[in-house]
């Protein structure tokens, strides 16, 4: 595939028009999941397991079914028992649909506290909840296994009797009871460590965290009289929901229409079905539409968080600061079913440095927690925390400037990745030099117990399929419909790319998000891909529109189409440039020259621009309480080309705040029996506006030649370095080296006390 020739000057891309959906969202008019209602609609509730690991002996639904106001009760027996069927779920890696079905409603065993066992549809949610509690389930309790090291121990309880350890390329020998293994290597680490002057080896642990989207999972399902199913839901991917439902319910994909509503946050966590098939079967049984709303506790207990981890790493460096060898061992929780973020987590652990000798082992480990789901650069935050704090330690030991050290070792265009192939265009050196030259880096930190930390982060991103439809109206305005849910302002970033290509204004384009029956297939809004990949589909559709418009101009002028010059929204006769139509003028002539014009493009772009970033943080630590106050935060990131710089800044700030929460506060608390104890946002402590200062975003632009305007994804990498940057600043402030997340006041105080005794 050839690279695009990126225009030197862009007219629309890089500006900051008002987003068309903004007004409705801030005034409450936009329709989110819970704003949707249908006449005669019932309300569904789920009975969930109170046990982390148990065999289901029997389920008695008779009392619930007889409860006044109840219209349907379902258990796993009401769903098809599907065969193992591994599909490529893109952002979720490879998932077995049998596991997905079992995760939606337990069949033989429950695998985590909160696992769905049965569901009820009733006149209202209160009746449904009361009736669900009348369902009697007999369990045979089994020992739970709650962390990766316990799960990999020889005598660990086995979650799935038929578990076949998967691995890259091949099933491995069953060396570990609940884990699959992945290995990557480059060079010879033994030789590399022999060349090193300084070698350090460290261990790290991080806890399970949740994406923390404010809108929970909400779905309304209607089983039509003709057997056609309609779903209204809040999701990152209407096609993924449709396809997964079809496979789990053994229905034709064409029999299901999924209509995406607005989405109140997803961050990777809204890519899969949970209550959706329950609502569909409840609707089928009751003959009425059924709405199901997960509350916060259900969302925390039973939707996919991100993995807790155990990491052991070893770095070897020469006294001049050249990294010569690295070993990285990362065990990632998969949750109750295999398939966590181990591959991207370990693959990005060292990728941003050019290290000749590398050995990486990753383990995907089953534990009695909910099946993990992607969370913004899945797997990369823990691995970055480990490696970047070790880099900081090496810099201090060798008395080297942390930016200079990273510049010495920075991955540059053409260097070999640990995956083997050469790195495409990347602006890492530019990022690090921007840090070096920034006023923040050059300022005095000032004051006691204050410190500064730097961390450098990387993320791959993805392309994957996207579609876009464009239709020209007779007044010169344009309808744009894509299959990509808008999580971050992508309606306007797509409209801007269409406007740039067509030579018209963004305000003349009306962007919308289509349902599965009205627009071409699109992969989920994940992997920082929508502005990039769907943007390319929009660009291609726009080229088709321009070609069709040129044909109409040629028809009117009775010339060959080749003789029509297209120049920034104008169509000119090359032989007589006095003959000229604006886009609007020509649109007004479509009816009389053959009718309306529309175009559809399906793109699966491969020229993904990698994401690179550096975060710089100043903080103060209270040595009596262990509390950390962040004083100043600057995030440097390469956007390729920032289509809408305000939204790039928003992505950087949002991801950073989530990274700060991961660093300092957020964690799942389970008791020894595997019960989740912090099931509200009072106890699952995410940062608020009071916890974070203004985050300054410094946007750099190293164009990605794989996109017509040079765009890279931007949404994921900001969550990667905050934990390491904060840990490094803590060392600078108080001389304590943290090796566990979250770095709570209690843990910091323990370290401080240990350091002084």
């Amino acid at each position: 595939m050839n690279d695009y020739v990126i225009p030197e000057k862009l007219r629309v891309v890089g500006t900051t028009p008002i987003r068309p959906d903004g007004h409705d969202k801030v005034t409450g008019r936009a329709k989110f999941g819970d704003d949707f209602h249908l006449p005669g609609m019932l309300h569904g509730k789920v009975l969930r397991s109170p046990h982390a690991h148990a065999r289901i002996k029997s389920i008695d639904t008779s009392h619930a079914a007889a409860f006044p106001g109840v219209h349907a009760v379902v258990t796993a027996a009401d769903f098809p028992k599907i065969a193992s069927n591994v599909i490529d779920a893109g952002e979720s890696g490879q998932i077995d649909m049998q596991d997905v079905a079992d995760n939606c409603i337990a069949r033989e065993k429950v695998f985590y506290d909160g696992h769905a066992v049965a569901a009820v549809a009733a006149d209202n949610a209160h009746i449904a909840e009361e009736a669900a509690n009348l369902i009697q389930v007999a369990y045979e309790l089994l020992d739970p296994v709650m962390d990766v090291r316990s799960a990999m121990a020889d005598n660990a309880p086995v979650l799935h009797d038929n578990f076949l350890p998967g691995a890259f390329l091949a099933p491995t020998e069953k060396a570990l009871p609940n884990a699959s293994k992945l290995e990557l290597a480059m060079g010879d680490v033994s030789t590399g460590f022999d060349q090193a002057d300084v070698i350090i080896e460290r261990e790290f642990t991080t806890e399970t965290v949740h994406q923390g989207y404010i809108e929970t999972h909400i779905v309304t399902a209607q089983w039509g009289a003709n057997g056609m199913v309609t779903i209204w839901t809040t999701t990152q991917g209407q096609f993924a929901i449709r396809d997964q439902l079809a496979l789990v319910l053994e229905l034709p994909m064409s029999a299901i229409t999924v209509i995406p509503l607005e989405i109140g946050g997803g961050f990777g966590g809204k890519d899969s079905i949970y209550i959706d098939p329950l609502a569909v079967v409840l609707s089928k049984q009751s003959g009425r539409p059924v709405k199901m709303v997960m509350n916060r506790a259900e969302t925390l207990r039973a939707t996919g968080p991100s993995s807790g981890t155990y990491i052991k790493a070893r770095l070897g460096v020469k006294t001049d600061g050249t990294l010569v060898a690295a070993e990285f061992h990362g065990a990632y929780e998969a949750g109750a079913y295999s398939g966590g973020p181990v591959a991207p987590g370990v693959s990005t652990a060292l990728t941003r440095y050019n290290i000749p000798n590398v050995k990486i082992e990753g383990y995907d480990v089953l534990v009695n927690k909910p099946k993990v789901k992607p969370y913004r650069a899945p797997g990369a935050t823990p691995s970055n925390f480990a490696v970047e704090t070790m880099i900081d330690e090496l810099c201090r030991e060798l008395k080297l400037d942390p930016v200079e050290f990273r510049l010495r070792n920075a991955l540059t265009t053409g260097d070999r990745l640990v995956l083997g192939f050469p790195c495409p265009e990347i602006g890492g050196v530019e990022i690090l030099k921007a840090v070096q030259n920034h006023a923040h880096y050059q300022s005095d930190i000032g004051g006691p117990h204050r410190g500064r930390g730097l961390a450098y982060g990387f993320w791959f991103g993805a392309g994957l399929p996207s579609s876009a439809d464009l239709m020209v109206n007779s007044d010169g305005t344009v309808q744009l419909c894509s299959g990509s849910p808008d999580m971050s302002g992508t309606r306007i970033t797509l409209a801007m790319q269409a406007a740039e290509a067509l030579g018209i204004e963004p305000s003349d384009i009306f962007p919308s998000v289509g349902d599965t029956a009205s627009v071409g297939y699109s992969f989920q809004t994940v992997a920082s891909r929508t502005t990039f990949a769907t943007g390319i589909a929009v660009y291609q559709a726009a080229q088709d529109i321009l070609a069709q418009m040129a044909e109409r101009a040629a028809l009117i002028w009775q010339i060959a189409t080749d003789n029509v010059l297209i120049d920034c929204g104008r169509f000119l006769n090359k032989a007589n440039i006095q003959q000229c139509f604006t886009f609007k003028e020509l649109a007004g002539k479509l009816d009389g020259t053959g009718g309306p014009i529309a175009a559809r493009a399906l793109a699966s772009p491969e020229g993904v621009g990698f994401q690179i970033t550096a975060h710089l943080v100043d903080l103060a630590v209270d040595t009596e309480t262990g509390k950390v106050d962040i004083l100043r935060y600057t995030a440097f990131q390469d956007a390729g080309k920032a289509v809408h710089p305000d939204f790039v800044e928003g992505q950087i700030q949002g991801g950073t705040v989530q990274g700060i929460g991961w660093a300092l506060n957020e964690e799942y608390f389970y008791d020894e029996a595997g019960h989740l104890k912090n099931t509200s946002l009072l106890d699952y402590r995410m940062p608020t506006i009071l916890d974070v200062p203004n985050i300054e975003a410094v946007i750099l632009e190293t164009p990605n030649p794989g996109h017509p305007y040079g765009v890279r994804g931007v949404g994921e990498v900001p969550i990667v370095p905050p934990a390491a940057a904060i840990a490094n600043a803590l060392y600078d402030a108080a001389g304590i080296r943290m090796n566990t997340l979250p770095m709570t006041p209690a843990k910091i105080l323990d370290k401080l006390n240990s350091a002084t005794h």
């Binding site: 779920a89 890259f168 591959a343 789901k373 995956l419 192939f421 992997a527 491969e606």
Partner: protein, 78 residues
């Protein structure tokens, strides 16, 4: 794959597309096809990079005479 190749990092073979390359590798390293191809497709969890780009056409990806290909784990994202 290193184990299968006895530690060799680079192998040069002929092939007009990824499938033909795998077939050519099979003669050097028996059983490789079974690892890389499942149900007549590139196996789940495996991606292929051709000349520095992770490509979408799997076994059918056309190659140049000097193309460099890598079999890598499929990477997810959020």
């Amino acid at each position: 794959m290193r184990e299968m190749t006895g530690g060799t990092e680079k192998v040069a073979v002929n092939g007009a597309n990824v499938r033909e390359v795998i077939q050519a590798l099979e003669s050097l390293y028996p059983n490789l096809t079974g690892l890389l191809i499942k149900n007549d497709q590139l196996g789940k969890g495996i991606a292929v990079a051709v000349d520095g780009r992770i490509v979408r056409r799997g076994l059918y990806e056309p190659l140049q005479s000097d193309s460099e290909i890598h079999f890598i784990p499929a990477l997810g994202a959020g």
